[in-house]
């Protein structure tokens, strides 16, 4: 391979923009075998690879890439699964540009290796060929572990503990497993079939799944201990929507991003009336916020038939918290960005449906606690936007059910659970926590990393408890 070839990544095909804005099929189409091998060939196979330090779940990246290069796709997938039980998911939604790929030495002279795309390729290949489950190992460990929440953190902890030989029961409040992967991230970015295949893999490892169990209601944490669990991992996520607390927020047509996305993704309202859950969109939709959830909501609204979809964000393009790729996809699809703009109030019609948003222009002042420049309203710059639907995507906070019903479980003023960063230990003995319920809304992969660390410390705790 010559130097010039080595510099440039193999691009991944996307669904044509004019087509994809009318359907919910996946936008990114993935590599073909030839493309995957060509991209894998670019890898320098560094003797001291720096990419691994950027991976929260410690995948042996050069090793799995080498397997792809040699055409051993199933071996590549097995290599991934040594450390990561959800590679098809990570390959799609990890912000690789800030993780493994940021450390790739090729990035210094051109494009870094597309590690995420290769991860996705290998795991999709395995799903296509039929997933192999490692044989159940005879183990000496004994113990029952309850996992609360079946999102990325819970799935990872459950898989790691099941592989170690523990009896694992995973409780999920909703009717389907996967947490935010099912209710939050849309089909066009994270196909539900892929999520369910990964969940099936975890069930095959021996994890028992109980859906429709809202812990904190049907059982408290203490009741779980009393029923025979030796340790508990809480990965209940950040499922509570944040509202703006401005007038008119309770008009019809004003959705939290959570409600909007739950209706669309989990309940499949985009297939109404074949499916029973409705959603109403109208022609003009404004999504408030600038993160991935805002991009997902805006792009979903477009696919549901909205004519004009706006992202209303109070800072400027540079501060957008969404992944660059998602913001680009949104822009490409025709989403209109209104930067430095903040809603002041919602106005409704007589039937109580939203019809306008009064907004104010903003400017950036001095940096705030987050290090980003603080947005300040420009006096007298108020203006009106006509809308039929507004979606508020300004963040989520943890669900307080478990915190409220568990004595001795310390929480912060934001409602997140206090843990030891390295172990996931909470202030209550035998209870571990990780993911968004600890960090506040963050990424899938950081939740998985937390699940992995907690599984490791639960193992240690149970070994010492059993006197091993």
């Amino acid at each position: 391979m010559d130097k010039e070839q080595r510099k440039h990544e193999v691009p991944m095909a996307k669904q044509d923009v004019l087509e994809r804005i009318h359907n919910f099929y996946e936008v990114a189409l993935g590599y073909t075998e030839e493309q995957a091998v060509a991209e894998a060939e670019r890898c320098l196979q560094c003797p001291k690879p720096s990419c691994i330090q950027g991976c929260p779940v410690e995948i042996d990246i050069p090793a799995f890439i080498k397997e792809i290069k040699d055409g051993n796709f199933l071996a590549a997938s097995a290599k991934l699964k040594e450390k990561n039980s959800l590679p098809a998911i990570c390959g799609r939604v990890c912000p690789q540009e800030n993780q493994c790929q940021k450390f790739c030495v090729l990035g210094k002279m051109g494009d870094p290796i597309s590690i995420g795309r290769l991860e996705r390729f290998a795991s999709d290949y395995e799903q296509l060929k039929g997933v192999t489950v490692p044989p159940k190992q005879e183990s000496s460990v004994k113990g029952r572990v309850a996992i609360v929440g079946s999102g990325p953190a819970g799935l990872t902890a459950a898989a790691d503990l099941a592989k170690l030989g523990y009896e694992v029961v995973m409780f999920e409040s909703l009717h389907s497993t996967g947490g935010v992967l099912m209710y939050g991230i849309p089909e066009f970015r994270m196909p539900k079939k892929i999520v369910q295949a990964e969940v099936d893999y975890i069930k095959k490892l021996g994890v028992e799944v109980k859906t429709n169990y809202t812990i904190g209601k049907i059982f408290t944490i203490n009741e779980l201990f009393a029923s025979g669990f030796d340790a508990i991992f809480v990965g209940s996520g950040a499922g509570l929507p944040r509202f703006m607390r401005i007038p008119g927020e309770n008009f019809g047509g004003v959705y939290s991003a959570n409600e909007f996305l739950i209706r669309v993704n989990l309940m499949k309202a985009y297939l109404f009336p074949e499916y029973d859950t409705p959603i109403r969109i109208g022609k003009k939709v404004a999504v408030i916020g600038g993160g991935n959830v805002a991009m997902d909501s805006a792009r979903s609204a477009l696919r549901l038939g909205a004519e004009e979809v706006y992202i209303v964000y109070r800072r400027s393009k540079q501060e957008l918290p969404a992944r660059a790729e998602e913001a680009e996809n949104a822009e490409e699809e025709g989403i209109i960005f209104r930067f430095l703009t903040n809603p002041v109030k919602f106005l409704g019609d007589e039937s109580g449906w939203v019809k306008e948003i009064e907004c104010i222009k903003m400017e950036l002042g001095e940096p705030d606690a987050s290090g980003r420049r603080r947005p300040l309203p420009i006096e007298g710059s108020e203006f009106i936007m006509d809308v039929d639907t507004a979606v508020i995507a300004i963040g989520q906070t943890p669900n307080p059910l478990i915190q409220r019903t568990t004595e001795g479980l310390e929480t912060t003023k934001w409602g997140t659970i206090v843990v030891q960063e390295e172990t996931g230990e909470t202030t209550k003995k035998g209870v571990y926590a990780g993911g968004d319920v600890v960090s506040g809304a963050a990424t899938v992969i950081s939740a998985m990393g937390a699940g992995k660390r907690a599984a490791r410390s639960i193992h240690k705790y149970l070994m010492s408890k059993n006197g091993a």
């Binding site: 409040s173 909703l174 009717h175 209710y183 859906t211 429709n212 169990y213 809202t214 209601k217 049907i218 059982f219 499922g239 509570l240 929507p241 509202f243 607390r245 927020e249 309770n250 019809g252 047509g253 939290s256 959570n258 409600e259 739950i262 209706r263 309940m267 499949k268 109404f272 009336p273 074949e274 499916y275 029973d276 859950t277 409705p278 109403r280 039937s351 109580g352 669900n399 307080p400 059910l401």
Partner: protein, 277 residues
């Protein structure tokens, strides 16, 4: 899957169903609700719990078959199963030792109100109950409520049985003193009851069944303004002080999906469902 263990028609188009869900039954208390989903294309609907049978491990709920899901449920029979049942959700109704309690139930809601009435009596309260309905055909649980109550009234909007409308309560309140009141029923009825009790400063708790999706605080669809603050019926309620509830807003929010509901019933009932090529 959750089996329908028993089903009986308690009034035209109103059914009492008992579902096998042992863990849910053990934890259920009056005023809480369950969310159910019939099949993999179904919506999630909340139903207030109308009682439990701990020996059989069942949870009971009353269903008025008016919407897409409740009509489908009405066609199911004992022995059939539904796909999902989640609960108990929401907070229990406050069952204190109040003294004299006025209860008002509307239509299908008389079933969960009976569960509340039993608990109130067990606590040593005296209970006066109104069973209300649009017509006499909407009245259910009259016998049960009468048995559990110290005083019992019947009222219908059209006067087909008992008092016509709820205004007779004004006279009752003029002559009798109550320490607490609980109303369960359609939102418009709840509003009427709170308007009647307000001049007497009779604390009136109302159970709100606003539109819900998950029922665990995630979607915010059920939000309602109480004392000027936005609350979630699923997490902060469903029981609220009726004199603090913004009923005008709630009634508008209840109507959000009426056009879609009408369209869905038309497509499913008149045209025989959705066909996809």
């Amino acid at each position: 899957m959750y089996e329908i263990v028993a089903k009986r028609e308690v009034a035209p188009n109103i059914y009492l169903i008992e579902l096998a869900a042992e863990d849910v039954a053990k934890k259920s208390q009056p005023g809480q609700f369950v969310i159910l989903r019939l099949d993999d294309k179904g919506e999630r609907i909340p139903l207030t719990i109308a009682g439990v049978d701990l020996e059989k491990g069942t949870v009971a709920a009353a269903v008025h078959s008016v919407g897409r899901t409740t009509k489908k449920l009405a066609k199911m029979n004992a022995g059939d199963s539904i796909m999902d049942l989640s609960g108990p959700l929401g907070n229990p109704a406050e069952i204190g030792k109040f003294g004299r309690v006025l209860l008002v139930g509307g239509g299908v809601w008389c079933a969960p109100l009976y569960y509340v009435a039993q608990a109130l009596r067990e606590k040593g309260n005296e209970v006066a109950t109104v069973a209300a309905g649009r017509t006499k055909n909407d009245l259910i649980f009259e016998k049960e409520l009468k048995e559990v109550s110290n005083e019992f009234y019947v009222a219908t909007d059209d006067g087909s049985k008992g008092y016509q409308g709820l205004s007779f309560l004004k006279d009752v309140l003029k002559t009798q003193k109550f320490d607490h009141s609980i109303a369960m029923g359609p939102v418009v009825m709840l509003q009427t009851v709170t308007e009647i009790t307000k001049p007497y400063s009779l604390k009136t708790m109302v159970t709100l069944a606003s539109i819900m999706v998950d029922g665990t605080g995630m979607c915010g669809s059920c939000r309602v303004t109480v004392a000027g603050e936005t609350k979630f019926a699923c997490m902060d309620g469903p029981e609220f002080d009726g004199h603090q509830v913004d009923f005008e807003q709630l009634i508008k929010r209840q109507r959000i999906y009426l056009p879609e509901e009408r369209m869905a019933s038309m497509i499913h009932e008149k045209l025989g469902g959705v066909k996809r090529g």
